[in-house]
Amino acid sequence: MEGTLLRTPLFARHVSAGARLVPFAGYEMPVQYEGVIEEHRAVRADCGVFDVSHMGELHVDGPTAEAFLQDVLSNDLAKIGDGEAQYTLLTNELGGIVDDLIAYRFAHGQFLLVVNASNRAAVHRWLKEREPRGTEVRDASDEYGLLAVQGPRSLERLGLEQRPAFTHDMGELDGIDVMVCRTGYTGELGVELCCAQDDAVALWDAVTARGAVPCGLGARDTLRLEVCYPLHGNDITVDTDAVSAGLGWACALGKDFTGVEALRRVKEEGPARRLVAFVMDEKAIPRQGMAIEGGGEVTSGSHSPMLGIGIGMGYVPAASAAPGSELVLDVRGKPRRAHVVKKPIYRKGES
C-alpha cells in the first residue's frame, strides 16, 4: 500500500491502549492489543469490541432504489422489511463476487449498504455507473464510526434488550445516538453500533467502560474463520462464484440480477470446485495460497484458538468436497494431512 495510511477516529485510542498497528485496506488498523488468542477467547466467553470504522457505508435512496438494488444484488430484498438487514452479494455478469455486504432497509425506500473497506471504492463506482433515475447512491463512509461489540454477554453489558439477528433500530447508549444492528462477523451474539464520526471516541469509551475487551483484526480473522464466514479477497473474489463458494443461500436464483444466468448454469451443472472447511490432522498451520494436492488451494488458514489446531478453508475439486474427505496440503514443501469438515468448524460447546 503506497502513500499515507488513513486513520479511523479511534486511532489515538488504539495507540494509547498499546495496540500493534498494521496497514489494512489503506488504513492503519490495530491487529492486536494484548494478544490475538486472549482477545479471541474474550469474544467467545464474554464480550469484545472491534473498531470497524474503516468499513464502507453507502446510502442508496429514492423511489427506484429498491428495484435498482434488486437488479444488482444477489439476495431477495423483498424478504426483509423496514428495520431488517440481509447478507447479500454484489455480483458481476459472470457471477463473480465484487463484494459481500449487508443491506439494511429503512422506511421510505432508503437503504444502507455496509461494504468491505477494501472494496468501498469499487462498490461505489459500480453502483454509481448503474444508478438509474430516481436512485441516489452516496458514499457516507467518512461520516460514521462503526464498532462491532460481540460475545455472549455483549447485549447484557451494553444494557440492550434481546432482539432478533439481522434487525436494526435507532437507539441510545450512555447518551450517544447509535444505530444498533444485530449483525457481526464472529458467530457470537452481538451488535454493530453505527454512530456519527464525532461520537466514535465517546462510544468506544462507553463500550470499553462497560467491560468490552478491545480486539484487533487478528482475532476478527480467527473468529470468522472458526465459523467459516468467507473473507472477500481470500475465500471469495471477482473470480469465484457464489455457488462454488457455498453462498447459494444468499442468491435468489428465481429473480433477475446481474450474473444470475451464470450462477444458474453453475448450479445446474454442479461446481467443478467447492469452497470447503478443513482441519489439520497433523501439526501444521495452513496459510492462504498453499496448494492442496489434486488441484486445490487454501484461501484462508490459521490456528484455531478454541480447538488448538490448524484450520482453514479452500477450494478443492468437487469430488473431494464431502465432509471426511482427506486432503494433503503443501506446507512449504512438506505434505501435511487434513480432512474436510462440515461448516462451521467451531460450534459452541464443542471445544
Partner: protein
C-alpha cells in the same frame, strides 16, 4: 504469561534475533525476547531434524504465531543433537521463557571460530534499539 524484556549477558546473539548459549563444543539455540514479542503468541514450532546439519545464517526450523511464520536462523553451524520437545508440544513456552524452558535446539558446533562473529549483549541491545 509472556516474559518481560531481557537479554542475558552470558549469551551470544545473531542479528536475526536468535541466541546461542555456548558450552564447549556444543551450543543451545533459541529466539530472543524481541523475536517472540514481534511474532506474538507462538502456536507452532517446526524444528530441524535431529542429526541434520545447520548452517550459520540459514534456517534451522520455523516458528509460527496466529498471524505469521518465521524462520529460526541458526546463529552457528553444526549438527543438531537434540530438539526441545516441550517447545514442539507447547510452543507458548517460548513466549514465557525464551532463554530457559523455551530453548529450541542443541547443536554440536562444526566451526567454533564462528562464535567470534556473534554479537555480545551490548552489541545486540544496540541492534534491538535500532529496530
Amino acid at each position: 504469561m509472556p516474559a518481560t524484556e531481557s537479554y542475558p549477558d552470558d549469551l551470544r546473539y545473531h542479528r536475526e534475533h536468535d541466541w546461542a548459549r555456548i558450552e564447549g563444543e556444543e551450543a543451545t539455540f533459541g529466539i530472543t525476547w524481541f523475536a517472540q514479542d514481534a511474532l506474538g503468541e507462538l502456536v507452532h514450532y517446526e524444528p530441524a531434524e535431529v542429526g541434520s546439519t545447520v548452517t550459520r545464517g540459514s534456517p534451522c526450523g520455523e516458528v509460527e504465531s496466529v498471524k505469521a511464520v518465521s524462520d529460526v536462523i541458526a546463529p552457528l553451524s553444526g549438527e543438531v543433537l537434540e530438539v526441545n520437545q516441550k517447545a514442539v508440544d507447547e510452543p507458548e513456552v517460548v513466549n514465557e521463557d525464551p532463554y530457559g524452558e523455551g530453548w529450541l535446539v542443541r547443536v554440536r558446533l562444526s566451526d567454533p571460530d564462528e562464535v567470534g562473529e556473534l554479537m555480545d549483549v551490548e552489541a545486540y541491545r544496540a541492534h534491538v534499539a535500532e529496530q
